[in-house]
Structures are given as C-alpha cells and as structure tokens.
Symmetry: C2
Subunit: 147 residues, 2 copies
DNA sequence: TGCTATTCTGACGTTTACGTAAGAATCAGC
DNA sequence: GCTGATTCTTACGTAAACGTCAGAATAGCA
C-alpha cells in the first residue's frame, strides 16, 4: 500500500488543514468536543491523525452550515462517539440480534442529522422562493417603465 | 378595503410577532439595523407598522438561516439609513433614468442575497449526500446480515 | 549538542448579541 | 384623573467562542 504519510500531524498543521487555529483546537479539546489525547504527558506536544482532521472538519461544518452551538454539535456527535463505542461492541459480539440492534441504532443517529440538514435546506428553499418573487416584481416594474 | 388594523404596534407586540424581545428590537435600532423612529420625542414609546414586522422577520431569517452576523446582515440589507435614502430619492425624482438605476440597484442586492442562499443550500446538499451515503452503507450491511 | 520554530500551560482580554435591573415616564382604560 | 401595564433610558452583567500574551518546554534538524 502506498503510504499517505503516516507521520503524526501537529496542531498547527491540523489548524491549517481545517481552517481553524491551534487555540480553537485546544478549546475544542478543553470542552470535550475533541478527545483529550489520553496518552500524553504534561507539556508534550499533541499529535493528530488524518482521522482527527476529518472529525474537526465535520465539527466545523455542523457549526457553520447548521449554525449549531458547540454544545449542540457536541450532543449531535455524542451519537457519533456512541457509534464508535457501539462499533467496538459490534466487533466483540457474535450475537446477530445484538449486531442488528447496533446497526439500527446507528441508522437512527444518522437519521437525526439528516432531519436537521433537510429541515434547514427546506427553510432556505422557502427563503430562496421569496427572494425570487421580489426579483420578479422588480423586474416587471423595470419592464413597465421603459419597454 | 377592509382595514387590517392600522393601529400602530408597540414594541412588545412586535417582539411577540417576530419571536424576539423588546431588548433585541431596541438593540437592532441602536446599531442601525432598524430605523430609529425619526420623529419620536425622547422617552415616548416606539411604534411600528406591519412593514416593520416584515423587516425584522427578514433580519431574523438571515441571521438564523445563513448564520450571518448582524454586521453582515446590515451590509446585506444596506444599512437602513441608505435604504430610506434611496426610497426618498425614488419618490422625489421624476427622472426615469434615475428611477431605473435605483431599481437596478435593488435587483443587485437581491441577487447578492440569492447567491448566498443558493451557495448555502448547495453546501447543505453536499452534506446531505454524504449522510445518505453513510446511511446506505449501513443499510446494506443490515441486508447482508439477515436476508 | 545547540539552535530555532513550534507548542505547552495558564490566565486574562475581547467581541457579539443580547439579558437584566432600576427608576422614571407614558399610554390605555375606567 | 387615576391606575396598572408597558415602555423609556441608562448602565452594568453575561455566555459563547475564541484571541492574545508570557514564560517555559519540546521537537526536529544541522
């Protein structure tokens, strides 16, 4: 496999990759949005993986696109943390009933997020319609004015 | 014409109608987002029209749906002062060229708003797509599990 | 091993968008 | 004209989401 640079990332690089700042990343860790790198001696540099970058990008998107507070994002992603937990369980159980239940729960969490996104999109659609109406109205007045 | 209650509205009513508070409305006036009711003696109650309600609703929607700062909203709506100025000019000029210019400017502003709304909607569309992908993946695993 | 860039940990500062409280004034109804 | 509800102005308070600064420590490199 061609390695995509497995070198651990430092906080500054991650900040650049996610359009944030080191301070922001530390803050997210501070409020529990990001996992405090559990095995890290006091004073040592934090290091991150591409997966962490994905996660931060996800946070930023929920924050910016849906206008959620970090608290709300946290709750929404708690479902995701729960999913990670569930995946661990999933790998460890053989019981097909349990596995099915876990997957179905995951489906539910994604469903919640989809509802939010679709709701927001519908509102924007409505707003767009009204703007187009205004546009038309003005356009007509312009036409009436000077044919 | 059946009158739709031409009685001027007070700040508390407007707040209820727009899902805001009197404080918020005064604040918007304070920062120039709403017109300081020009003809109002110090200490007298503010009074509003249904048009004002519409305007506040517009502000709230831009704020909430697009996540714009009040400063950005202000710019997007052309600081109320400038708008009032334009309306005055529009009403006072007979020059069709000037009137056309003003209307065209209005069209431009609406165009800007439309771009924002559509852009945001596209981003949400993208996010929705990714969520649906995840959903499908899980769904397939469920099907594979127990047909 | 030494140097320089980056990061670390507090801790206080800042901005936005209001909330809240106080005391006086206004307004609608009786 | 009185009264109770609402509003007025002024001013300080607040929560969220970081910014910024200081002084020490670390990491990568020559």
């Amino acid at each position: 496999m061609s390695a995509t640079a497995q070198r651990p990332l430092r906080i500054g690089e991650v900040a650049d990759l996610t359009g944030t700042t080191p301070r922001t990343i530390r803050y997210y860790e501070e409020i529990g949005l990001l996992p405090g790198t559990t095995d890290r001696a006091q004073g040592k540099h934090r290091c991150y993986t591409p997966a962490d970058v994905d996660r931060i990008n996800e946070i930023v998107r929920l924050r910016d696109l849906l206008g959620l507070s970090l608290d709300q994002v946290s709750k929404l992603l708690e479902a995701e943390v729960a999913r990670a937990e569930l995946r661990r369980e999933y790998a460890q159980t053989e019981d097909p009933v349990a596995r099915r239940g876990i997957l179905e729960q995951a489906l539910g969490h994604i469903g919640t997020q989809l509802e939010l996104v679709r709701g927001r999109r519908a509102e924007l659609h409505q707003l767009e319609g009204e703007l187009v109406q205004k546009q038309k109205a003005i356009g007509e007045r312009l036409v009436e004015m000077a044919p």
